[in-house]
Protein backbone atom coordinates (compact mmCIF):
# COMPACT_ATOMS: atom_id res chain seq x y z
CA UNK A 1 0.00 0.00 0.00
CA UNK A 2 1.38 3.37 -0.94
CA UNK A 3 2.04 6.16 1.47
CA UNK A 4 -0.66 8.23 -0.22
CA UNK A 5 -3.23 5.53 0.40
CA UNK A 6 -2.23 5.10 4.01
CA UNK A 7 -2.59 8.77 4.66
CA UNK A 8 -5.72 9.35 2.63
CA UNK A 9 -7.51 11.54 5.08
CA UNK A 10 -11.11 11.10 5.98
CA UNK A 11 -12.70 14.54 6.22
CA UNK A 12 -15.05 13.30 8.92
CA UNK A 13 -12.26 12.12 11.20
CA UNK A 14 -12.40 13.47 14.68
CA UNK A 15 -10.38 16.57 15.24
CA UNK A 16 -7.20 15.95 17.14
CA UNK A 17 -7.05 17.98 20.29
CA UNK A 18 -3.82 18.99 21.82
CA UNK A 19 -3.34 21.95 24.04
CA UNK A 20 0.26 22.49 23.05
CA UNK A 21 -0.48 22.72 19.33
CA UNK A 22 1.28 25.77 17.95
CA UNK A 23 -1.41 26.78 15.54
CA UNK A 24 0.41 29.94 14.56
CA UNK A 25 3.30 28.00 13.10
CA UNK A 26 1.01 26.00 10.80
CA UNK A 27 -1.03 29.03 9.85
CA UNK A 28 2.15 30.83 8.88
CA UNK A 29 3.34 27.88 6.87
CA UNK A 30 0.12 27.57 4.87
CA UNK A 31 -0.03 31.31 4.20
CA UNK A 32 3.58 31.25 3.07
CA UNK A 33 2.83 28.39 0.70
CA UNK A 34 -0.22 30.18 -0.73
CA UNK A 35 1.81 33.30 -1.27
CA UNK A 36 4.55 31.44 -3.14
CA UNK A 37 1.90 29.99 -5.46
CA UNK A 38 0.19 33.34 -6.01
CA UNK A 39 3.55 34.91 -6.80
CA UNK A 40 4.36 32.04 -9.22
CA UNK A 41 7.49 31.12 -7.25
CA UNK A 42 7.02 27.48 -8.14
CA UNK A 43 10.61 26.41 -7.48
CA UNK A 44 10.34 27.76 -3.97
CA UNK A 45 6.99 26.01 -3.61
CA UNK A 46 8.55 22.72 -4.71
CA UNK A 47 11.26 23.21 -2.08
CA UNK A 48 8.55 22.95 0.60
CA UNK A 49 7.98 19.29 -0.31
CA UNK A 50 9.93 16.30 0.98
CA UNK A 51 12.02 14.11 -1.31
CA UNK A 52 9.31 11.44 -1.24
CA UNK A 53 6.37 13.81 -1.51
CA UNK A 54 3.02 13.37 -3.20
CA UNK A 55 0.66 16.06 -4.44
CA UNK A 56 -2.89 14.93 -5.05
CA UNK A 57 -6.10 16.49 -6.42
CA UNK A 58 -8.73 13.70 -6.52
CA UNK A 59 -11.37 13.51 -9.25
CA UNK A 60 -14.06 12.22 -6.90
CA UNK A 61 -15.35 13.33 -3.48
CA UNK A 62 -13.87 11.16 -0.71
CA UNK A 63 -11.67 9.33 -3.19
CA UNK A 64 -9.82 6.58 -1.35
CA UNK A 65 -6.78 6.04 -3.53
CA UNK A 66 -4.90 7.71 -6.38
CA UNK A 67 -4.07 4.29 -7.81
CA UNK A 68 -7.48 2.77 -8.53
CA UNK A 69 -9.25 5.95 -9.66
CA UNK A 70 -8.13 8.79 -11.91
CA UNK A 71 -7.10 12.13 -10.37
CA UNK A 72 -7.18 15.68 -11.68
CA UNK A 73 -3.57 15.72 -10.54
CA UNK A 74 -1.58 12.96 -8.91
CA UNK A 75 2.14 13.67 -8.80
CA UNK A 76 4.81 11.75 -7.01
CA UNK A 77 7.95 13.79 -6.35
CA UNK A 78 9.39 12.95 -9.77
CA UNK A 79 6.32 14.15 -11.68
CA UNK A 80 5.91 17.17 -9.41
CA UNK A 81 9.44 18.26 -10.36
CA UNK A 82 8.54 17.82 -14.03
CA UNK A 83 5.32 19.80 -13.53
CA UNK A 84 7.17 22.68 -11.90
CA UNK A 85 9.89 22.64 -14.58
CA UNK A 86 7.22 22.80 -17.30
CA UNK A 87 5.62 25.80 -15.61
CA UNK A 88 8.85 27.68 -16.27
CA UNK A 89 8.98 26.69 -19.94
CA UNK A 90 8.66 29.51 -22.49
CA UNK A 91 6.74 27.00 -24.65
CA UNK A 92 3.97 26.23 -22.16
CA UNK A 93 1.17 27.36 -24.46
CA UNK A 94 -1.56 26.72 -21.88
CA UNK A 95 0.09 29.47 -19.78
CA UNK A 96 0.33 32.01 -22.57
CA UNK A 97 -0.93 34.37 -21.25
CA UNK A 98 -0.06 33.40 -17.67
CA UNK A 99 -2.75 32.90 -15.06
CA UNK A 100 -2.96 35.26 -12.14
CA UNK A 101 -4.24 33.73 -8.93
CA UNK A 102 -5.41 34.95 -5.58
CA UNK A 103 -5.82 32.53 -2.69
CA UNK A 104 -7.45 32.70 0.67
CA UNK A 105 -6.55 30.02 3.22
CA UNK A 106 -8.54 29.72 6.41
CA UNK A 107 -10.30 27.42 8.95
CA UNK A 108 -7.00 25.77 9.84
CA UNK A 109 -7.37 22.81 12.19
CA UNK A 110 -5.14 20.03 13.40
CA UNK A 111 -6.59 16.81 12.07
CA UNK A 112 -4.12 14.20 13.22
CA UNK A 113 -0.97 14.15 15.31
CA UNK A 114 1.55 11.33 15.12
CA UNK A 115 5.08 11.09 16.47
CA UNK A 116 6.59 11.77 13.04
CA UNK A 117 3.99 13.94 11.34
CA UNK A 118 0.84 16.01 11.64
CA UNK A 119 -2.10 16.39 9.30
CA UNK A 120 -3.44 19.92 9.02
CA UNK A 121 -6.78 20.63 7.41
CA UNK A 122 -7.66 23.97 5.86
CA UNK A 123 -10.23 25.57 3.62
CA UNK A 124 -9.17 27.52 0.58
CA UNK A 125 -10.60 29.64 -2.20
CA UNK A 126 -8.60 30.43 -5.31
CA UNK A 127 -9.52 32.91 -7.99
CA UNK A 128 -7.76 32.25 -11.27
CA UNK A 129 -7.80 34.87 -14.00
CA UNK A 130 -6.56 34.12 -17.48
CA UNK A 131 -7.48 35.43 -20.92
CA UNK A 132 -10.49 37.49 -19.86
CA UNK A 133 -11.96 34.67 -17.86
CA UNK A 134 -12.12 34.29 -14.10
CA UNK A 135 -12.57 30.89 -12.46
CA UNK A 136 -13.29 30.25 -8.81
CA UNK A 137 -12.00 27.10 -7.15
CA UNK A 138 -12.59 26.15 -3.56
CA UNK A 139 -12.35 23.21 -1.25
CA UNK A 140 -10.45 21.49 1.52
CA UNK A 141 -6.73 20.90 1.77
CA UNK A 142 -5.00 18.29 3.87
CA UNK A 143 -1.29 18.82 4.47
CA UNK A 144 0.65 15.96 5.93
CA UNK A 145 3.61 17.80 7.40
CA UNK A 146 6.91 16.51 8.73
CA UNK A 147 9.84 18.30 10.28
CA UNK A 148 13.20 18.37 8.53
CA UNK A 149 16.09 20.21 10.17
CA UNK A 150 13.57 22.03 12.30
CA UNK A 151 11.48 23.20 9.33
CA UNK A 152 8.04 22.02 8.24
CA UNK A 153 7.95 20.13 4.97
CA UNK A 154 5.01 18.74 2.98
CA UNK A 155 4.98 14.97 2.69
CA UNK A 156 1.51 14.86 1.13
CA UNK A 157 -0.81 17.62 -0.01
CA UNK A 158 -4.32 16.57 -0.84
CA UNK A 159 -6.72 19.11 -2.38
CA UNK A 160 -10.41 18.20 -2.44
CA UNK A 161 -12.14 20.58 -4.81
CA UNK A 162 -15.84 21.20 -4.20
CA UNK A 163 -16.35 20.72 -7.96
CA UNK A 164 -13.79 17.96 -8.52
CA UNK A 165 -16.18 16.02 -10.77
CA UNK A 166 -17.40 18.99 -12.83
CA UNK A 167 -16.53 19.42 -16.50
CA UNK A 168 -13.49 21.68 -16.41
CA UNK A 169 -11.12 23.34 -18.84
CA UNK A 170 -7.47 22.53 -18.17
CA UNK A 171 -5.88 22.98 -14.75
CA UNK A 172 -2.31 24.19 -15.09
CA UNK A 173 -1.54 26.28 -12.01
CA UNK A 174 -1.42 24.05 -8.92
CA UNK A 175 -3.78 24.70 -6.01
Amino acid sequence: MSAATETAVDGRAALATNADWDRQEYDDFLLHEARLLDEAKFDDWLALFTADAQYWVPSEPEQKSPHDTVSLIYDDRRLLETRVRRLASPRIYSQEPRSRTSRIVTNVTLEQREPDHVVVRSKFAMIEFRRNEQRLFGGTCFHRLVRHDGRLRIRLKRVDLVNCDAPLDGIVVPF
Partner: protein, 450 residues
Protein backbone atom coordinates in the same frame (compact mmCIF):
# COMPACT_ATOMS: atom_id res chain seq x y z
CA UNK B 1 -32.28 28.26 -44.10
CA UNK B 2 -31.39 24.59 -43.68
CA UNK B 3 -32.36 23.59 -47.23
CA UNK B 4 -30.20 26.36 -48.56
CA UNK B 5 -27.31 25.15 -46.40
CA UNK B 6 -27.60 21.55 -47.55
CA UNK B 7 -27.23 22.56 -51.18
CA UNK B 8 -24.36 24.83 -50.30
CA UNK B 9 -22.42 22.31 -48.21
CA UNK B 10 -20.80 20.55 -51.17
CA UNK B 11 -19.00 23.78 -51.94
CA UNK B 12 -17.68 24.06 -48.37
CA UNK B 13 -15.82 20.74 -48.37
CA UNK B 14 -13.20 20.52 -51.08
CA UNK B 15 -10.58 17.84 -51.66
CA UNK B 16 -7.82 19.38 -49.58
CA UNK B 17 -9.52 22.21 -47.72
CA UNK B 18 -12.70 23.01 -45.79
CA UNK B 19 -14.51 26.25 -45.25
CA UNK B 20 -14.00 27.76 -41.80
CA UNK B 21 -17.77 28.15 -41.35
CA UNK B 22 -17.96 24.42 -40.66
CA UNK B 23 -16.44 25.20 -37.26
CA UNK B 24 -18.20 28.49 -36.55
CA UNK B 25 -21.68 28.61 -38.10
CA UNK B 26 -24.46 27.88 -35.58
CA UNK B 27 -26.83 26.87 -38.40
CA UNK B 28 -24.39 24.25 -39.60
CA UNK B 29 -24.05 23.01 -36.02
CA UNK B 30 -27.84 22.65 -35.72
CA UNK B 31 -27.85 20.70 -38.96
CA UNK B 32 -25.06 18.45 -37.66
CA UNK B 33 -27.08 17.65 -34.54
CA UNK B 34 -29.98 16.56 -36.74
CA UNK B 35 -28.22 14.97 -39.71
CA UNK B 36 -25.24 13.37 -37.94
CA UNK B 37 -25.99 12.96 -34.22
CA UNK B 38 -29.67 12.37 -35.02
CA UNK B 39 -28.90 9.55 -37.47
CA UNK B 40 -25.45 7.97 -37.06
CA UNK B 41 -24.57 5.21 -34.60
CA UNK B 42 -23.51 7.15 -31.51
CA UNK B 43 -21.55 5.52 -28.68
CA UNK B 44 -23.41 5.84 -25.37
CA UNK B 45 -21.56 3.54 -22.97
CA UNK B 46 -20.41 0.04 -22.10
CA UNK B 47 -22.47 -2.92 -20.94
CA UNK B 48 -20.31 -3.35 -17.83
CA UNK B 49 -21.87 -0.08 -16.56
CA UNK B 50 -25.29 -1.80 -16.43
CA UNK B 51 -24.59 -5.45 -15.63
CA UNK B 52 -27.92 -6.33 -14.01
CA UNK B 53 -31.56 -5.79 -14.84
CA UNK B 54 -32.55 -2.41 -13.37
CA UNK B 55 -29.08 -0.88 -13.68
CA UNK B 56 -29.06 2.41 -15.56
CA UNK B 57 -26.93 5.43 -16.33
CA UNK B 58 -27.69 8.80 -17.89
CA UNK B 59 -25.97 10.18 -20.95
CA UNK B 60 -26.53 12.49 -23.88
CA UNK B 61 -26.67 12.04 -27.61
CA UNK B 62 -25.99 15.36 -29.20
CA UNK B 63 -27.60 17.57 -26.59
CA UNK B 64 -30.45 15.20 -25.74
CA UNK B 65 -30.44 13.69 -22.23
CA UNK B 66 -31.04 9.94 -22.43
CA UNK B 67 -31.23 7.01 -20.01
CA UNK B 68 -29.43 3.78 -20.88
CA UNK B 69 -31.01 0.94 -18.89
CA UNK B 70 -31.03 -2.85 -18.78
CA UNK B 71 -34.61 -3.98 -18.29
CA UNK B 72 -35.74 -6.95 -16.20
CA UNK B 73 -35.37 -9.31 -19.17
CA UNK B 74 -31.77 -8.16 -19.72
CA UNK B 75 -32.56 -6.15 -22.86
CA UNK B 76 -30.76 -2.84 -23.37
CA UNK B 77 -33.14 0.11 -23.64
CA UNK B 78 -32.36 3.73 -24.29
CA UNK B 79 -35.04 6.23 -23.31
CA UNK B 80 -35.45 9.95 -23.75
CA UNK B 81 -35.19 11.36 -20.24
CA UNK B 82 -38.50 13.19 -20.40
CA UNK B 83 -41.82 12.53 -18.72
CA UNK B 84 -44.64 12.05 -21.23
CA UNK B 85 -46.95 14.10 -18.99
CA UNK B 86 -45.50 17.58 -18.54
CA UNK B 87 -42.00 17.12 -19.89
CA UNK B 88 -39.97 17.01 -16.69
CA UNK B 89 -36.63 15.19 -16.68
CA UNK B 90 -37.47 11.92 -14.93
CA UNK B 91 -34.09 10.55 -13.85
CA UNK B 92 -31.79 13.00 -12.09
CA UNK B 93 -29.01 10.70 -10.82
CA UNK B 94 -26.03 9.94 -13.05
CA UNK B 95 -26.45 6.23 -12.50
CA UNK B 96 -28.19 3.74 -10.26
CA UNK B 97 -30.46 0.72 -9.94
CA UNK B 98 -34.25 0.80 -9.98
CA UNK B 99 -37.39 -1.22 -10.65
CA UNK B 100 -39.18 1.66 -12.34
CA UNK B 101 -38.78 5.29 -13.27
CA UNK B 102 -40.98 7.76 -11.44
CA UNK B 103 -41.45 11.41 -12.31
CA UNK B 104 -41.10 13.73 -9.32
CA UNK B 105 -43.76 16.13 -10.61
CA UNK B 106 -47.10 14.21 -10.62
CA UNK B 107 -45.84 10.71 -9.99
CA UNK B 108 -46.20 9.22 -13.45
CA UNK B 109 -44.38 5.90 -13.18
CA UNK B 110 -42.81 3.96 -16.02
CA UNK B 111 -41.53 0.46 -16.70
CA UNK B 112 -37.83 0.19 -17.52
CA UNK B 113 -38.69 -0.04 -21.23
CA UNK B 114 -40.52 3.28 -20.97
CA UNK B 115 -44.11 1.99 -20.97
CA UNK B 116 -46.44 3.67 -18.53
CA UNK B 117 -46.92 1.62 -15.38
CA UNK B 118 -49.09 3.74 -13.10
CA UNK B 119 -50.57 7.20 -12.76
CA UNK B 120 -51.94 8.70 -9.53
CA UNK B 121 -55.42 10.24 -9.77
CA UNK B 122 -56.03 8.50 -13.06
CA UNK B 123 -59.76 9.16 -12.98
CA UNK B 124 -59.23 12.83 -13.58
CA UNK B 125 -57.76 12.42 -17.05
CA UNK B 126 -59.96 12.65 -20.16
CA UNK B 127 -62.22 9.67 -20.96
CA UNK B 128 -60.18 8.70 -24.01
CA UNK B 129 -56.93 8.73 -22.03
CA UNK B 130 -55.24 5.37 -22.60
CA UNK B 131 -52.19 4.44 -20.51
CA UNK B 132 -51.38 1.76 -23.12
CA UNK B 133 -51.05 4.35 -25.88
CA UNK B 134 -47.35 4.58 -26.84
CA UNK B 135 -47.66 8.37 -26.71
CA UNK B 136 -47.90 8.11 -22.93
CA UNK B 137 -44.57 6.27 -22.72
CA UNK B 138 -41.10 7.62 -22.20
CA UNK B 139 -39.90 7.54 -25.79
CA UNK B 140 -37.42 4.81 -26.69
CA UNK B 141 -34.57 5.52 -29.08
CA UNK B 142 -35.48 3.35 -32.08
CA UNK B 143 -32.23 1.43 -32.50
CA UNK B 144 -29.86 0.21 -29.79
CA UNK B 145 -27.03 -2.14 -30.67
CA UNK B 146 -24.02 -3.47 -28.85
CA UNK B 147 -20.78 -4.72 -30.35
CA UNK B 148 -18.84 -6.81 -27.82
CA UNK B 149 -20.19 -4.73 -24.95
CA UNK B 150 -19.86 -1.28 -26.58
CA UNK B 151 -23.35 0.21 -26.76
CA UNK B 152 -24.36 2.48 -29.63
CA UNK B 153 -27.72 4.05 -30.50
CA UNK B 154 -29.16 5.41 -33.69
CA UNK B 155 -32.16 7.72 -33.72
CA UNK B 156 -32.89 6.72 -37.31
CA UNK B 157 -35.48 3.95 -37.64
CA UNK B 158 -33.53 2.31 -40.46
CA UNK B 159 -30.14 2.48 -42.04
CA UNK B 160 -27.01 0.39 -41.90
CA UNK B 161 -26.59 -1.96 -38.95
CA UNK B 162 -24.00 -1.07 -36.32
CA UNK B 163 -21.60 -3.71 -37.62
CA UNK B 164 -22.00 -2.48 -41.19
CA UNK B 165 -21.35 1.02 -40.06
CA UNK B 166 -18.25 0.02 -38.06
CA UNK B 167 -16.84 -2.07 -40.90
CA UNK B 168 -13.16 -2.88 -40.40
CA UNK B 169 -13.13 -0.82 -37.16
CA UNK B 170 -14.67 -3.80 -35.38
CA UNK B 171 -11.07 -5.05 -35.27
CA UNK B 172 -10.11 -2.10 -33.06
CA UNK B 173 -12.98 -2.87 -30.66
CA UNK B 174 -11.91 -6.53 -30.75
CA UNK B 175 -8.42 -5.37 -29.79
CA UNK B 176 -9.87 -3.60 -26.70
CA UNK B 177 -11.63 -6.77 -25.52
CA UNK B 178 -9.30 -9.54 -26.69
CA UNK B 179 -6.48 -8.24 -24.49
CA UNK B 180 -8.40 -9.35 -21.40
CA UNK B 181 -7.27 -12.87 -20.43
CA UNK B 182 -10.84 -13.66 -19.32
CA UNK B 183 -12.24 -12.15 -22.52
CA UNK B 184 -14.09 -9.41 -20.69
CA UNK B 185 -13.40 -5.76 -19.90
CA UNK B 186 -15.18 -3.42 -17.51
CA UNK B 187 -15.42 0.31 -17.02
CA UNK B 188 -13.57 1.24 -13.83
CA UNK B 189 -11.46 3.94 -12.25
CA UNK B 190 -13.60 7.05 -12.56
CA UNK B 191 -14.11 9.68 -15.20
CA UNK B 192 -12.50 12.85 -16.44
CA UNK B 193 -14.74 15.51 -17.90
CA UNK B 194 -13.01 18.26 -19.76
CA UNK B 195 -14.34 21.13 -21.81
CA UNK B 196 -13.12 23.69 -24.31
CA UNK B 197 -14.49 26.64 -26.26
CA UNK B 198 -14.24 25.14 -29.71
CA UNK B 199 -16.04 22.92 -32.17
CA UNK B 200 -16.59 19.21 -31.50
CA UNK B 201 -14.89 18.13 -34.76
CA UNK B 202 -11.53 19.46 -33.57
CA UNK B 203 -11.21 16.71 -30.99
CA UNK B 204 -11.14 13.68 -33.30
CA UNK B 205 -9.10 15.74 -35.76
CA UNK B 206 -6.37 16.00 -33.14
CA UNK B 207 -6.34 12.41 -31.89
CA UNK B 208 -4.73 10.92 -34.99
CA UNK B 209 -2.53 13.94 -35.64
CA UNK B 210 1.06 12.75 -35.64
CA UNK B 211 2.42 16.15 -36.62
CA UNK B 212 1.44 18.10 -33.50
CA UNK B 213 3.00 16.44 -30.41
CA UNK B 214 6.55 17.47 -31.17
CA UNK B 215 5.41 21.10 -31.25
CA UNK B 216 2.29 21.46 -29.10
CA UNK B 217 3.68 19.33 -26.29
CA UNK B 218 7.16 20.84 -26.35
CA UNK B 219 6.95 22.18 -22.78
CA UNK B 220 6.18 18.74 -21.30
CA UNK B 221 8.64 16.98 -23.62
CA UNK B 222 11.46 19.30 -22.53
CA UNK B 223 10.51 19.08 -18.85
CA UNK B 224 10.34 15.27 -19.00
CA UNK B 225 13.59 14.91 -20.90
CA UNK B 226 15.37 16.98 -18.26
CA UNK B 227 13.86 15.02 -15.37
CA UNK B 228 16.29 12.98 -13.27
CA UNK B 229 15.19 9.34 -13.01
CA UNK B 230 16.65 8.76 -9.55
CA UNK B 231 14.03 10.98 -7.91
CA UNK B 232 11.29 9.24 -5.92
CA UNK B 233 8.40 7.85 -7.95
CA UNK B 234 5.78 5.32 -6.89
CA UNK B 235 5.51 4.28 -10.54
CA UNK B 236 2.84 6.77 -11.49
CA UNK B 237 5.13 9.66 -12.36
CA UNK B 238 7.47 7.29 -14.14
CA UNK B 239 4.75 6.28 -16.61
CA UNK B 240 3.75 9.90 -17.17
CA UNK B 241 7.32 11.00 -17.80
CA UNK B 242 8.01 8.12 -20.18
CA UNK B 243 4.88 9.03 -22.16
CA UNK B 244 5.89 12.69 -22.37
CA UNK B 245 9.33 11.71 -23.61
CA UNK B 246 7.79 9.53 -26.32
CA UNK B 247 5.95 12.59 -27.61
CA UNK B 248 9.39 13.99 -28.34
CA UNK B 249 10.21 11.39 -30.99
CA UNK B 250 11.79 13.18 -33.97
CA UNK B 251 9.72 14.16 -37.01
CA UNK B 252 11.46 11.51 -39.11
CA UNK B 253 10.04 8.88 -36.75
CA UNK B 254 6.54 10.34 -36.76
CA UNK B 255 6.54 10.47 -40.54
CA UNK B 256 7.76 7.00 -41.34
CA UNK B 257 7.16 4.67 -38.37
CA UNK B 258 3.63 5.23 -37.17
CA UNK B 259 1.02 4.71 -39.88
CA UNK B 260 -2.46 6.16 -40.34
CA UNK B 261 -5.40 4.11 -41.66
CA UNK B 262 -8.92 5.27 -42.51
CA UNK B 263 -12.17 3.47 -43.29
CA UNK B 264 -15.63 4.31 -44.63
CA UNK B 265 -18.07 6.30 -42.45
CA UNK B 266 -15.34 8.54 -41.04
CA UNK B 267 -13.43 6.01 -38.91
CA UNK B 268 -9.64 5.83 -38.56
CA UNK B 269 -6.76 4.70 -36.41
CA UNK B 270 -3.22 5.82 -35.82
CA UNK B 271 -0.47 3.23 -35.46
CA UNK B 272 1.55 3.00 -32.30
CA UNK B 273 4.53 5.30 -31.91
CA UNK B 274 6.12 3.87 -28.77
CA UNK B 275 9.44 2.16 -28.44
CA UNK B 276 9.55 2.45 -24.65
CA UNK B 277 9.72 -0.98 -23.00
CA UNK B 278 7.40 0.05 -20.16
CA UNK B 279 4.71 1.57 -22.32
CA UNK B 280 4.22 -1.18 -24.83
CA UNK B 281 2.70 -4.55 -24.01
CA UNK B 282 4.70 -7.55 -25.18
CA UNK B 283 7.97 -5.88 -24.39
CA UNK B 284 10.14 -6.64 -21.40
CA UNK B 285 8.42 -5.17 -18.39
CA UNK B 286 8.19 -7.88 -15.67
CA UNK B 287 4.55 -6.94 -15.11
CA UNK B 288 3.76 -7.63 -18.75
CA UNK B 289 5.44 -11.02 -18.47
CA UNK B 290 2.85 -11.97 -15.83
CA UNK B 291 0.14 -10.55 -18.00
CA UNK B 292 1.30 -12.40 -21.09
CA UNK B 293 1.46 -15.62 -19.07
CA UNK B 294 -2.15 -15.08 -17.98
CA UNK B 295 -3.18 -14.35 -21.56
CA UNK B 296 -1.38 -17.43 -22.89
CA UNK B 297 -2.89 -19.62 -20.18
CA UNK B 298 -6.40 -18.62 -21.26
CA UNK B 299 -5.98 -18.20 -25.00
CA UNK B 300 -2.99 -20.29 -25.99
CA UNK B 301 0.40 -19.07 -27.15
CA UNK B 302 -0.47 -18.46 -30.79
CA UNK B 303 -3.62 -16.54 -30.08
CA UNK B 304 -1.90 -14.49 -27.37
CA UNK B 305 0.88 -13.55 -29.78
CA UNK B 306 -1.68 -12.62 -32.40
CA UNK B 307 -3.54 -10.40 -29.91
CA UNK B 308 -0.43 -8.58 -28.75
CA UNK B 309 0.82 -8.07 -32.30
CA UNK B 310 -1.98 -5.56 -32.86
CA UNK B 311 -0.25 -2.25 -32.27
CA UNK B 312 -2.71 0.59 -32.64
CA UNK B 313 -2.73 3.91 -30.87
CA UNK B 314 -5.96 5.95 -31.03
CA UNK B 315 -8.89 4.41 -32.89
CA UNK B 316 -11.59 6.92 -33.80
CA UNK B 317 -15.15 5.88 -34.49
CA UNK B 318 -16.97 8.75 -36.12
CA UNK B 319 -18.51 10.94 -34.89
CA UNK B 320 -18.08 10.74 -31.09
CA UNK B 321 -15.74 7.99 -29.90
CA UNK B 322 -12.00 7.45 -29.57
CA UNK B 323 -10.22 4.69 -27.69
CA UNK B 324 -6.83 3.15 -27.16
CA UNK B 325 -6.36 -0.52 -26.38
CA UNK B 326 -2.84 -0.67 -24.99
CA UNK B 327 -3.71 1.32 -21.88
CA UNK B 328 -7.47 0.73 -21.98
CA UNK B 329 -8.55 4.34 -22.50
CA UNK B 330 -11.77 5.64 -24.04
CA UNK B 331 -13.04 9.14 -24.81
CA UNK B 332 -16.55 10.26 -25.70
CA UNK B 333 -17.24 13.61 -27.34
CA UNK B 334 -20.33 15.69 -26.55
CA UNK B 335 -21.07 18.69 -28.76
CA UNK B 336 -22.66 21.44 -26.64
CA UNK B 337 -22.67 24.37 -29.08
CA UNK B 338 -20.83 25.29 -32.25
CA UNK B 339 -17.99 26.66 -30.12
CA UNK B 340 -18.36 24.52 -26.99
CA UNK B 341 -17.51 20.85 -26.47
CA UNK B 342 -17.33 18.47 -23.53
CA UNK B 343 -15.35 15.23 -23.45
CA UNK B 344 -15.71 12.39 -20.94
CA UNK B 345 -12.95 9.83 -20.60
CA UNK B 346 -13.06 6.33 -19.15
CA UNK B 347 -10.69 3.50 -18.23
CA UNK B 348 -11.27 -0.22 -18.62
CA UNK B 349 -10.05 -3.05 -16.43
CA UNK B 350 -8.92 -6.22 -18.22
CA UNK B 351 -10.56 -9.16 -16.44
CA UNK B 352 -7.96 -11.76 -15.59
CA UNK B 353 -4.94 -9.44 -15.89
CA UNK B 354 -2.62 -8.70 -12.93
CA UNK B 355 -4.22 -6.04 -10.71
CA UNK B 356 -1.12 -3.89 -10.94
CA UNK B 357 -1.78 -3.34 -14.65
CA UNK B 358 -4.86 -1.34 -13.78
CA UNK B 359 -2.75 0.94 -11.66
CA UNK B 360 -0.71 1.68 -14.79
CA UNK B 361 -3.94 2.29 -16.70
CA UNK B 362 -4.85 4.93 -14.10
CA UNK B 363 -1.41 6.55 -14.28
CA UNK B 364 -1.65 6.62 -18.03
CA UNK B 365 -5.16 8.13 -17.95
CA UNK B 366 -3.87 10.90 -15.69
CA UNK B 367 -1.20 11.90 -18.19
CA UNK B 368 -3.15 11.60 -21.45
CA UNK B 369 -6.68 12.49 -20.35
CA UNK B 370 -6.31 14.27 -17.01
CA UNK B 371 -7.80 17.71 -16.57
CA UNK B 372 -4.55 18.68 -14.86
CA UNK B 373 -2.30 16.67 -17.18
CA UNK B 374 0.95 18.19 -18.38
CA UNK B 375 0.02 17.06 -21.89
CA UNK B 376 -3.75 17.37 -22.36
CA UNK B 377 -3.80 20.96 -21.09
CA UNK B 378 -1.83 22.03 -24.15
CA UNK B 379 -4.26 20.18 -26.44
CA UNK B 380 -7.16 21.98 -24.77
CA UNK B 381 -5.32 25.23 -25.33
CA UNK B 382 -5.08 24.41 -29.05
CA UNK B 383 -8.84 23.75 -29.30
CA UNK B 384 -9.53 27.01 -27.49
CA UNK B 385 -7.12 28.88 -29.74
CA UNK B 386 -8.70 27.48 -32.90
CA UNK B 387 -12.04 28.63 -31.51
CA UNK B 388 -10.55 32.08 -30.95
CA UNK B 389 -8.52 32.19 -34.16
CA UNK B 390 -11.47 31.42 -36.38
CA UNK B 391 -13.38 34.41 -35.04
CA UNK B 392 -10.78 36.68 -36.65
CA UNK B 393 -12.17 35.80 -40.10
CA UNK B 394 -8.72 35.64 -41.66
CA UNK B 395 -8.12 32.76 -44.06
CA UNK B 396 -11.45 31.62 -45.38
CA UNK B 397 -10.35 28.03 -46.00
CA UNK B 398 -8.63 25.62 -43.59
CA UNK B 399 -6.01 23.33 -45.06
CA UNK B 400 -6.44 19.58 -44.67
CA UNK B 401 -4.25 18.60 -47.60
CA UNK B 402 -1.19 16.94 -46.02
CA UNK B 403 -0.59 13.70 -47.90
CA UNK B 404 -3.43 14.31 -50.31
CA UNK B 405 -1.45 13.33 -53.39
CA UNK B 406 0.28 10.34 -51.83
CA UNK B 407 -2.44 8.48 -49.87
CA UNK B 408 -2.83 4.82 -50.76
CA UNK B 409 -5.69 2.33 -50.85
CA UNK B 410 -5.89 -0.03 -47.90
CA UNK B 411 -6.58 -3.74 -48.25
CA UNK B 412 -9.74 -3.56 -46.11
CA UNK B 413 -11.48 -1.00 -48.26
CA UNK B 414 -10.05 2.16 -46.72
CA UNK B 415 -7.29 4.62 -47.45
CA UNK B 416 -4.03 5.00 -45.60
CA UNK B 417 -1.39 7.67 -45.48
CA UNK B 418 1.89 6.93 -47.19
CA UNK B 419 3.27 9.27 -44.58
CA UNK B 420 1.97 8.93 -40.99
CA UNK B 421 1.40 12.67 -40.75
CA UNK B 422 -1.08 12.57 -43.63
CA UNK B 423 -4.34 14.34 -42.90
CA UNK B 424 -6.15 11.55 -44.72
CA UNK B 425 -8.18 10.83 -41.56
CA UNK B 426 -9.53 14.41 -41.51
CA UNK B 427 -10.48 14.25 -45.19
CA UNK B 428 -12.07 10.88 -44.47
CA UNK B 429 -14.17 12.37 -41.67
CA UNK B 430 -15.34 15.14 -43.98
CA UNK B 431 -16.33 12.57 -46.61
CA UNK B 432 -18.56 10.98 -43.97
CA UNK B 433 -19.70 14.42 -42.81
CA UNK B 434 -20.86 15.33 -46.32
CA UNK B 435 -22.61 12.00 -46.68
CA UNK B 436 -24.63 12.58 -43.51
CA UNK B 437 -25.24 16.27 -44.02
CA UNK B 438 -26.37 16.05 -47.63
CA UNK B 439 -28.58 12.99 -47.25
CA UNK B 440 -32.34 13.25 -47.15
CA UNK B 441 -32.39 12.44 -43.50
CA UNK B 442 -34.20 9.48 -42.05
CA UNK B 443 -34.49 11.40 -38.82
CA UNK B 444 -37.78 12.97 -37.91
CA UNK B 445 -37.45 16.67 -38.70
CA UNK B 446 -37.06 18.94 -35.71
CA UNK B 447 -40.40 20.33 -34.67
CA UNK B 448 -42.48 18.04 -36.88
CA UNK B 449 -45.82 17.03 -35.33
CA UNK B 450 -46.46 13.31 -35.41
Amino acid sequence: MQRHLTEDLFRRVQPARVHRSLYTDPDIFELEMKQIFGVAWIYVGHESQIRNGGDYFCTQVGRKPLIVVRDASGTLRVLHNQCAHRGSMVVASDKGHTDEFQCCYHGWTYHLDGRLKAIPLQSGYPHDFDPANPKTAMLQVPRVSSYRGFIFVSQATDGPTLENSLGHMTTSLDDMVDRAPDGEIEVAGGTFRHTYNGNWKLYLENLCDAAHPWFTHRSSIDAAQQQKDDVFSDGSGEIAIRQMRQNGAPYSFWESQVGIWTYPNGHSYLGDYHDDAKLVAAMNDPLFRDYIAALEAKKGKDKARQILQVRRWNSNIYPNLSFMSQFQQLRVIYPIAVNRTEVHTYCFRLRGAPERMFRNTISFANVVNGTGSLVLTDDLEIYNRIGLGLTSEGAEWLEIGRGYQSDLPDEHGGRKGKNSTSEVYIRNMFDAWLGFMASRSMAVPQGAVT
